[in-house]
Symmetry: C2
Subunit: 330 residues, 2 copies
């Protein structure tokens, strides 16, 4: 396997945590190449007492930059990562950096898989049945109905690559009945129903995401992004309230709190976005994963492991086939 190109300058705590994560991955036999300013990365490697190949990239995209700045900063680390992937010198790209810029760089350097109108960001959320895959996570705010069908096909390919058999797809709406929804969902419903290779369940509601009614939920990127940030925010608020309620209670409550702490901590980790590592960007000509900017070394490792597993499962080829199958029937 060719190494995974890691944007070593992406994320809030780069390059410390990216180097940390890459060294942890190396120990597990996952080959990684660091992309960024060589001198700085060598210094960080030396500080952490590790050795990894480095590819030079003198610039990088900051969180203050616009997504389109990837066209100006041609030697930015994310662009150099994509070039390695395009030339076949890397098997995947992982970045914990600017989501919009990573998306723009992937489109610009790799291009789309034939038949894909818009690539999609796929989110993973914990659910009562394991996990729910949600597309689109924010790459495409205003969508056409046929894009939702493509998101469904690409998410199906991804879920299969993750070992889910015949993954079911729900259309996020405001009622179960076919006639409930907004203009977009009403037009997408019949297309999803008749699409080849998609195990369409019908409409699902907000509550079905955590319940795990379907393996996959499709929606536009505006709603998907609201769902992602609301669910993270709600979990954070709830755990904060629990901590407070237990700390402020009478002494018996505080004693109880001490005893239940490990169990609650494990649960909290289950809700932690870092556990999920990274979201795949599906529909571009290459395996690209985007992680949380707040990632620590463990989250970078998760992202690299997720990328590796996806490459082994032939993700890009599966997406290509899923999209081709939609096209055949048209």
């Amino acid at each position: 396997m060719k190494p995974i190109a890691l944007d070593a300058m992406g994320g809030d705590h780069a390059p410390k945590v990216t180097v940390e994560g890459a060294l942890l991955a190396q120990k597990q036999g996952i080959p990684v190449v660091l992309v960024g300013p060589t001198e700085r990365l060598q210094r960080e490697l030396a500080a952490q007492g590790g050795h990894l190949p480095v590819v030079e990239a003198p610039e990088h995209i900051t969180m203050q930059d616009h997504a389109t700045d990837v066209r100006k900063k041609r030697r930015a680390s994310i662009n150099v990562c994509m070039e390695l992937l395009r030339r076949g010198e890397a098997s995947a790209v992982v970045s914990m950096g600017h989501t919009g810029a990573t998306l723009a760089s992937a489109l610009f350097n790799l291009g789309r898989i034939p038949g894909v109108d818009r690539p999609t960001l796929l989110i993973e959320l914990p659910s009562e049945r394991g996990r729910t895959y949600l597309a689109d996570g924010g790459a495409n705010v205003d969508c056409r109905p046929e894009w939702l069908v493509q998101f469904a096909a690409m998410a199906t390919a991804y879920a299969r690559a993750q070992g889910v058999e015949n993954p079911s797809v729900g259309l996020l709406s405001i009622g179960e009945e076919e006639e409930k929804g907004n203009d977009l969902t009403l037009r997408a419903f019949p297309l999803l129903k008749s699409a080849a290779g998609i195990n369409f369940y019908g409409n699902v509601e907000g509550r079905d995401i955590f319940k795990g009614t379907t393996d996959i939920v499709v929606t536009d990127g505006y709603t998907g992004n609201v769902v992602l940030k609301l669910s993270e925010g709600e979990a954070r608020t709830l755990f904060g309230w629990i901590r407070q309620a237990l700390a402020e209670g009478p002494w018996l409550t505080r004693l109880g709190a001490l005893l239940v702490r490990p169990a609650l901590q494990r649960l909290r980790e289950r809700m932690d976005p870092a556990e999920y590592g990274a979201m795949p960007l599906l529909g571009v000509e290459g395996a690209v994963f985007i992680g949380h900017g707040s990632a620590d070394g463990r989250a970078v490792l998760s992202a690299l492991r997720k990328a590796e597993a996806s490459i082994q499962a032939g993700l890009v080829e599966r997406v290509r086939e899923g999209i081709a199958r939609l096209e055949e029937v048209r």
Copy 2:
């Protein structure tokens, strides 16, 4: 004060819980008139050992009916409630029944306040700063930018009536910056910025709803409904996982669970939609409140109390003024 007309046949457990809630309200000095089939309601009143005025309505809207069926079933309890309100024989209408039908019945029987294009359902969600008011909660799936401005004005009037001083308004989007969002939010942003009588904060994200960054959040009814059902579903799933994690742990964890149970129970109640009683339907010519179909007697009481407080605070007049102020500047 004229009595509040309660749709005694609305909700999953009617008329038992509606009669229960009405009797509880009566004890607190809130006048209520029950609307429904007289004989059945008298039987329920007798069973519960109470006395309340009843207005006859031979039919009712079931959850299987369509919203538009309010035009066919003219003597349905919800229509009779609205007639009482229109004729000034009731001060407000409360229903735990079919949301769409209640909305349709209100529009049909009461009409809109001048200047209101679309009435809005206002949701209350718990937040770190108390509560967040969210409009629209699902009355208008596809929205025009100017409707969002009206929702903001009506929600502002409601929040003021609830005692919030100079309530701040956030526009639900996918980034803080003005240029982030979908077609609807990009067009609504400048309108909200220049609208009279609205304390506009700017864009907020999904995470800000539970954080309580602004008092009010405006969005289209599709997204609002997804937010409502996702937040309810996530809380239910999380508390379920907590219960399970504590019950399945080693004996020290189970002992701790026993000790923290009361504190967690109180927190759970704080998240319970029943605590919030009912959502106001703003923008129609009268005070209308719609509660959760799964309401118990306590939730019916909360809804009636909320309606009473709103009437005392001159809700409809405040909404009328807020909308008129928008119009003046146009």
